[in-house]
């Protein structure tokens, strides 16, 4: 597990939305997926996922339903909604802007 770090504060919900924009997924899978996509750089603090999922649901950005997994186990699957996709877009722009800004500052010699 060496070389792993926590995800950047404040980005968890954006990352969840991104993950779900690729495919519907259950909670555990989302965490795994984030870790995977970040090429094992980010380790999601697993418990924090669930409050985040609740918040996203409450804001109508994702929806949830119980489904049966490939292993015949009941799990709650989350799916991104239309307003979730829109939010993801604005967050991504926001993120890119700030990354560019931080980058600019850091490059300044």
């Amino acid at each position: 597990m060496a070389g792993q770090s926590s995800i950047v504060p404040g980005t968890l919900e954006m990352l969840v939305l991104k993950t779900l924009s690729l495919a519907p997924m259950h909670g555990w899978g989302i965490g795994e997926r984030i870790q995977q996509l970040s090429q094992d750089v980010f380790a999601v603090n697993q418990g924090t996922l669930y409050p985040a999922l609740e918040r996203l649901q409450r804001d109508g950005l994702i929806s949830a339903e119980w489904r049966v997994t490939e292993n015949n186990r009941r799990a709650r699957y989350y799916r991104i909604t239309r307003s979730g996709l829109r939010r993801l877009e604005t967050e991504r722009e926001e993120w890119e802007r700030s990354v560019r800004a931080v980058d600019l500052i850091m490059r300044t010699t």
Binding site: E32, Q46, G47, Y50, P51, A52, E54, D59, R74, R76
Partner: protein
């Protein structure tokens, strides 16, 4: 949009809070399971893999909680938190909480109790009667030379006319309430019964609990066997709810009736007294000499006519008026111009609203005033408390609480107090309501419990509204301005923002004192009425005299009882008993009378020989009493001149008469009546009776009545004035203690009596005195409560002020202020408020006076002396209530006060 859906989401998860929690637990369990599996794949043992998974998750309970919070189950959680906080807040100041709760409990309890009564009396009508507001009574008003006479008793023929010839009512019935005797002899008692046409049941739209109601065919004079429908209560108590009662025979008033059914539980017809038996109208005992009661316009036994309106009241009255004027047959010319009115069924036989209803309505109004006073008081306390909590509130604001959070918190506190008060109030209403309704209207078939669903609903609503209003006003005021300023301002804030709050507080106190004064004044008026009623000189002693009402068995002396021998035997029975009564220890004297006060009215026409014209109107009539020797000393009526009835009068042939002052004045104005001659039609036929004495005026039947001519003739001379007499017994002291001894005398010496009732004049008068007694008692109680509430309110507000100004007072005292100055400073405001309240209350009292007038006994509603007394009393209470905390203020230690900040 997203906000709305967020609410929906929150709401849904609230509704299915448990389900959502379970789902979350399932979800996390699934997560742990997957992670465990992953760890196993990475080579850990099953046990370690699970441990590791849990560790990585970081505490399932914690995140479940976090998730729940994120889900937004906030309202319930917040309420829980707020309630806990409110309880803590109240617990910090238990004196306030207890005082406020008690205050509200009294006020809400009074409202609950009075609502229960008014609801039954005025809002809902009698039990089982559908749409009672459509049911009306028929009154006929005749215009006579001396004014209008309205009567609610109508001949049967009018009922039939209304039924068959008009379209005013969809259903119409006639009935007559009457007391019947059940049981035999000394053990017999009277029960309320009602003779009614069977359409009364149809009018009320009820169905029998057992059997059937009687039919129109059973309600005709020629019907063979009399039938009866029993009242549910009577059937339950006296007949043990015998389920095979239908077809059996019961004895009422010595007559046999076959039971055909049992009325539904609580059915009282269109009146409110519990009814033991329903009998056909034709089963009434009628005097055959009075003619055919079904066709006569002046029958001896009329009835009350009620109908369910099919047209408007005005139209119904017009139709019935036309009917009466057209159909009336008889000598009474006034009937040809009579007017018919339809009035609510709660009205009495004279077409007026019974005084009890007025008192009940007034008491309900007063209860509401009490609630207002209590609410004003509590608002004031809450305001004062809120001010003293400004620092605490400031800290909360500094910690991020919004204005609404503060308001919510404060309102929640008062709502909790008022709900608690409501609960205690319900207990009070349960106990007090029973007392009030028994005292005010004992003859009403009440619901079983004073607190029913409707009362409960009203109480909860009143508590909630009171709590919200009482909390909201101070909360909005205090949280208004810049609360953060308060934090900096610390204790001395009363100097700054205090002005506006001071005004609010003062005006609330003024309202409270104003209402208190009005209430006290009203209470005073009622107490005075009661006193006047009790001290009213009726012309006889009401507390020392018993009336012995006895019904002897029929004489079976061979022939008719109308014969001379029968009359003598009948007389002897009374005389024998009276002689025995006189020998009972404690009896001062005893006598016999036919139609003595409060037992009956007997009227005779007058004529004076030698005068051409018979005196007209009232003057030509006299109330006639046949009195045995010792009558006047026994009842306590003074003989002003001449003498009373003596033993020699009864046996001697010369007709004599004792007249009252009014009659002496009316017939022989300016002359001496003694020795004059008057013809009393009923007693002496055409013979002339010599006036031998003049007696004081006596109230024959009621507390309030115009003086009428009264004539006393010797008892026993005329056989018609013997049967149905009462015996009168005067005790040496409290007469009611003699009752057992007298009963015993009757039991031993006249074993065959059919019934016996021994009651004091006091008891006979009681139904008339009752409204005033209840009014005075309840008003007095309400008044005392309100004064207590006002005093506590003043006291606590002044106390708060003192606490608030401790710092300032310390400075003043340190700078050399004298005690008197400090006292004046603190009390000045309170007394100014009290004065304004007294002036406003006085004005209001004078203004509402006319509205109270009809409920009072003779005395004027404007009573400056009483008003002044009440105002001074209230001011005195205000002085005392504010003096104590003010005195404490003078004891402020300047050093401590200055250091305390």
């Amino acid at each position: 949009m997203s906000k709305l859906s967020g609410w929906v989401y929150t709401l849904r998860s609230l509704v299915r809070r448990n389900a959502a929690d379970r789902e979350m637990a399932d979800e996390i369990a699934f997560h742990i399971e997957r992670q465990t599996r992953k760890n196993e794949v990475l080579g850990l043992s099953a046990e370690d893999a699970r441990q590791r998974a849990l560790q990585e998750f970081g505490g399932t309970t914690r995140w479940r909680e976090e998730a729940r919070r994120a889900r937004g189950s906030t309202p319930i959680d917040l309420v829980e938190r707020d309630v806990r906080q409110a309880i803590r807040g109240l617990a910090r100041n238990p004196a306030f909480a207890v005082m406020a709760t008690l205050t509200l409990a009294l006020a809400i309890g009074a409202n609950a109790a009075m609502f229960g009564i008014v609801d039954r009396l005025l809002l809902r009508g009698p039990e089982h009667l559908a749409a009672p507001e459509q049911v009306v009574r028929v009154y006929v008003t005749r215009t006579l030379s001396n004014g209008n006479v309205t009567s609610g008793l109508q001949p049967y023929v009018l009922y039939r006319g209304v039924r068959d010839q008009t379209s005013a009512f969809s259903a119409v019935a006639t009935y007559l309430p009457l007391d019947l005797r059940v049981g035999v002899g000394l053990d017999s008692r009277l029960v309320h019964a009602t003779y009614a046409t069977p359409d009364l049941f149809a009018l009320a739209n009820v169905h029998p609990a057992l059997g059937r109601f009687y039919t129109p065919e059973e309600d005709v004079p020629s019907h063979g066997e009399p039938v009866v429908v029993l009242g549910y209560g009577y059937w339950q108590t006296d007949l043990a709810g015998d389920s095979a009662i239908v077809g059996k025979v019961v004895t009422l008033d010595d007559r046999q009736f076959r039971v055909v059914g049992v009325a539904p539980r609580g059915f009282t017809g269109v009146e409110r007294a519990p009814i033991a038996a329903w009998l056909p109208m034709s089963a009434r005992p009628v005097d055959p000499r009075a003619g055919d009661w079904t066709t006569s316009w002046r029958p001896a036994t009329p009835g009350i006519v009620v109908g369910r309106l099919a047209v408007s009241k005005v139209q119904a009255a017009a139709q019935l008026t036309a009917l009466v004027r057209r159909e009336y047959e008889g000598p009474d010319k006034a009937m040809r111009t009579a007017n018919v009115r339809v009035l609510p069924i709660s009205y009495d036989l004279e077409g007026a609203e019974p005084r009890e209803l007025g008192v009940a309505r007034l008491l309900a109004g007063v209860a509401i005033v009490m609630l207002l006073v209590a609410a004003a008081n509590m608002t004031n306390l809450t305001l004062a408390r809120a001010l003293s909590r400004r620092r605490e509130l400031g800290v909360r604001v500094a910690l991020g609480a919004g204005r609404w959070t503060l308001v919510r918190l404060m309102v929640l506190e008062t709502v909790m107090i008022s709900l608690l008060g409501g609960m205690v109030g319900l207990a009070l209403a349960h106990w007090g309501g029973a007392v009030v309704r028994e005292a005010l209207l004992p003859n009403v078939a009440w619901d079983e419990l004073p607190v029913n669903g409707r009362v409960l609903a009203l109480t909860i609503a009143a508590s909630l509204i009171t709590g919200v209003v009482v909390g909201l006003i101070p909360a909005l005021r205090v949280s208004g301005g810049d609360v953060a300023l308060a934090l900096r301002a610390g204790r001395s804030d009363s100097a700054g923002g205090g002005q506006a709050h001071g005004t609010a507080r003062a005006s609330l106190q003024v309202v409270q004192l104003t209402l208190s004064l009005v209430l006290l004044f009203t209470a005073g008026l009622f107490v005075r009425s009661l006193r006047d009623v009790q001290q009213l000189d009726l012309g006889y002693d009401r507390d020392r005299v018993l009336t012995v009402d006895i019904s002897f068995p029929r004489l079976d002396s061979g022939g008719t009882s109308a014969g001379d021998g029968g009359m003598m035997a009948n007389r002897a029975r009374y005389e024998d008993l009276v002689t025995r009564f006189e020998r009972v220890p404690g009896v001062a004297s005893a006598s016999i009378a036919f139609s003595s006060p409060l037992s009956a009215v007997n009227i005779t026409k007058l004529r004076i020989p030698g005068r051409d014209s018979v005196p007209s109107g009232k003057d030509g009539m006299a109330l006639l009493v046949a009195a045995a020797p010792h009558y006047f000393e026994t009842v306590g009526t003074r003989i002003l001149r001449g003498r009373g009835i003596e033993i020699s009068d009864v046996s001697s042939a010369e007709p004599v008469v004792v007249v009252n002052e009014t009659m002496a004045r009316a017939l022989w104005p300016g002359e001496d009546a003694i020795g004059r001659c008057v013809v009393l039609r009923v007693a002496n036929g055409d013979a002339c009776a010599r006036v031998v004495g003049i007696a004081r005026d006596v109230h024959q039947m009621t507390l309030k009545e115009d003086a009428l001519n009264q004539a006393y003739v010797p008892w026993g001379q005329d056989g018609r004035l013997v049967g149905g007499s009462v015996m009168l017994v005067r005790g040496q002291s409290d007469a009611s203690r003699l009752i057992p001894a007298l009963t015993d005398v009757v039991r031993r010496s006249a074993p065959g009596v059919r019934s016996l009732q021994i009651r004091s004049f006091e008891e006979l008068l009681d139904p008339q005195v009752r409204p005033w007694r209840v009014g005075a008692t309840v008003f007095g109680l309400f008044g005392a409560i309100v004064v207590l509430v006002a005093a506590i309110g003043l006291f606590s507000v002044v106390s708060y002020l003192v606490t608030q100004r401790t710092h300032e007072l310390g400075v003043r005292i340190a700078l050399g202020a004298r005690r008197g100055q400090v006292l004046r400073l603190i009390m000045g405001g309170a007394l100014r408020t009290a004065l304004i309240g007294a002036v406003l209350g006085g004005t209001l009292s004078v203004a509402i006076g006319p509205a109270l007038q009809p409920l009072l006994f003779d005395n004027a509603a404007r009573d400056p002396l009483l008003l002044a007394g009440v105002a001074i009393g209230l001011l005195a209470v205000a002085v005392v209530a504010s003096a104590w905390p003010a005195w404490r203020a003078t004891r402020v230690d300047p050093l401590l006060a200055l250091r305390s900040d």
